[in-house]
Symmetry: C2
Subunit: 415 residues, 2 copies
């Protein structure tokens, strides 16, 4: 096979068993949090009609889409996010009881320039309440973000930034920015998490704003306060137990589709951008072709979160998938090895038999070691003749031989 | 939105929360079985280079592939199965410790004609041991199939058909079929699970075989016995506890790539085709461009299995994802409802708050009922004033009011 043939595509990754341990654990924990708050899972197809996908995200986004004709000649495309499929699902299932509290954990595809924390196929974990204008719905989304990041993922240092579109808009009014320039100013001040205020001021001057206007913007933003709705959301979220909320009057979120509260979670280390992003979008589902229903939700970026967990080595204690290796000696003893494996399995201990008869035990130990399997059970001719098994703990080096009946007890002691 | 826009593509499906309950439970149970036997998960990208995909499955298969150019102009395609990505992974990761016992649960895409039990996007659960020639490896695959179908899925009536390529080939020899016609005869007799022996005999005559040859084939097949390797595999599988094995000398499996044992699981009801298929393929990984390593494994068709579980209503006892609804009354009492929801959540009870203040409790009950939520907690003004909560069990109709401190105990009693 030529070199090119054996590669994954640029921006795409295989997940080895060792990476899958973390990804599966992360998905399990996210799912548990979503379900605790009464959200249920939806999955939608990877492919949608191009008519569903196009004209929704803007020209720049459409350049990143995987669009093509299927073998039947239909114009199709890979899912770009989980919001448009949600709008399509609700449009197609108008009898869905409202409010619809759904979560969705699936990959999306964007042919973006690959870089640290950015892949062309990545998993989004979306959680949204559709059909409710209540601040309780917003507060629950904040609670889920907090519960995932704080309790499920155990991030040591994070900030949930919150703001509201109306805070931004009233700041623009107070700073006497003409309405048609709001979005340009908001785009610049949104960069204050990455750029210094000097740089942002310079950018606004370059955009043609006067020194007075720029100074006004910064004064007004400095004094900005949450509006009544956001105050109510924060109060309710705190009732649920949420901490680490930071009112951030410069937070704008890139997307224009938010209409109310906006949320974003950042971690101090590693430098990886935001790990969650969301807010209230009361017009979007209608604009996307769905029914005209309000909604609030967030995306949790699974790939970035798992990157954080692995880089900071936050989950030292998640157990290996396979706990024990059962050695084999020769064909005559294969039933004896299978018997040990059976007993362990019935005792709830995931174990693997070394299937190839191999009298050199060191080779089998080395195999266990490479797979991070901590415990080896040896069933050699001597053990078999005496109705015994030998356990070797590869971490501690401890080895002992005991009667077969004690197998599960001994195994549990060493795990 | 025009009608066409709000549809899923032909052959593709949304999975509503009610369907996801079954799919998630099925995946969880399959995963547990795979891991009990020491297999670990691998995931590979949805897209591969066309050079990886093409020239591997034959012309007919390539017509069903979703092939296209990505936005960067690379020739790419969606995964057609999980075996070619496995071969590519091993070729790219030659330091993988052998034997490599991996499982993979991911969707694949085939633009096949949609029909009952056949979708254009469907999940395969593959489990394979790469790098071992031992019959223990084959026996473990049989054990996994049996454990999934019998214990995890609880299928009431199934048969694991087994055969071996060498049984087929020696039958052809004994029936004096010229070697270049073997594959044609084998293709016909493989249909004996769907067609009568009369029909298959007729088909063979039409193919140009003489009456004597056809009679020979049926006599030889009627007397065929497992070869020594298959006998050893069966013995080891039975040691593990496997039942429902049926030696089926006509079983051929469509794919030419099997070299040894072959396995297929069928259910009597519903009529849905095979639910698992696999065998030993010692040449395939090399042919697919991977290293020249032997392998044995099976695919479990998740979508068909879940169809069986739902059609036969096999899992009556899987609990609802969300157990309780907490009603809301008005803005002043929202903190009280949140408090009840918090206490339930801390007690491990997944619950949903009805976020929209709604004094008409019947509407909230109706909502719970539509979502199959069995229990409702009511926090009205009277309950709040007296530090109490009312529970209503929608299944039994039982309703009682009790002090807030008894909340979790009362909830557990009703679940």
């Amino acid at each position: 096979m030529a070199k090119q043939n054996i590669q994954t595509l640029k921006g795409f990754r295989d997940f080895s068993p060792n990476m899958m341990r973390f990804r599966n654990e992360a998905i399990k924990r996210v799912r548990e949090v979503f379900e605790k708050y009464g959200f249920e899972e939806l999955q939608t197809p990877s492919l949608e009609y191009q008519k569903v996908l196009l004209g929704k995200y803007g020209e720049e986004a459409e350049k990143l889409m995987y669009l093509f004709d299927d073998p039947g000649g239909r114009g199709v495309g890979l899912r770009y996010d989980l919001t448009v499929p949600l709008a399509r699902y609700i449009a197609q299932n108008q009898d869905t009881p409202m409010p619809f509290k759904r979560y969705q954990i699936q990959p999306v595809w964007r042919a973006d320039k690959p870089q640290k924390g950015r892949y062309r196929e990545f998993f989004q974990c979306d959680v949204d309440t559709v059909g409710s204008l209540s601040p309780i719905a917003d507060a629950e989304i904040l609670a889920i973000i907090w519960d995932v990041v704080q309790n499920a993922f155990k991030f040591p240092d994070f900030e949930i930034k919150i703001n509201s579109r109306s805070v931004l808009f009233s700041s623009m009014k107070k700073a006497k920015i003409p309405q048609k320039k709001w979005s340009s100013v908001i785009q610049s001040i949104d960069k204050l998490d990455k750029k210094s205020s000097g740089e942002v001021k310079e950018e606004l001057r370059t955009k043609g704003f006067s020194a007075d206007q720029v100074a006004n913007v910064f004064t007004v933003i400095g004094k900005a306060e949450p509006d009544d709705y956001l105050k109510e959301v924060v109060k309710l979220a705190q009732n649920i137990g949420v901490t680490n909320l930071t009112f951030t009057p410069t937070l704008a979120r890139g997307l224009d589709y938010y209409t109310g509260a906006i949320f974003e979670t950042v971690v101090t280390e590693p430098k990886i951008g935001s790990v969650t992003g969301g807010g209230r979008y009361d017009k979007l589902l209608g604009d996307l072709g769905g029914p005209d229903l309000p909604a609030v939700g967030t995306t949790i970026g699974l790939d970035r979160c798992v990157d954080v967990i692995q880089e900071l080595n936050l989950w030292k204690d998640i157990p290996p998938t396979v706990t024990a290796l059962v050695t084999t000696f020769d064909k005559n003893l294969s039933s004896a090895s299978i018997n040990v494996s059976n007993i362990l399995r019935a005792g709830g201990i995931n174990n693997t038999i070394f299937p190839d008869f191999e009298k050199d035990l060191k080779k089998q130990f080395k195999y266990a070691d490479k797979l991070n399997i901590p415990i080896v059970f040896i069933v050699g001719p001597e053990e078999f003749d005496n109705g015994q098994v030998t356990i070797k703990n590869l971490k501690t080096g401890i080895q002992e031989t005991f009667p077969l009946e004690e197998l599960v007890d001994k195994a549990r002691k060493h795990i």
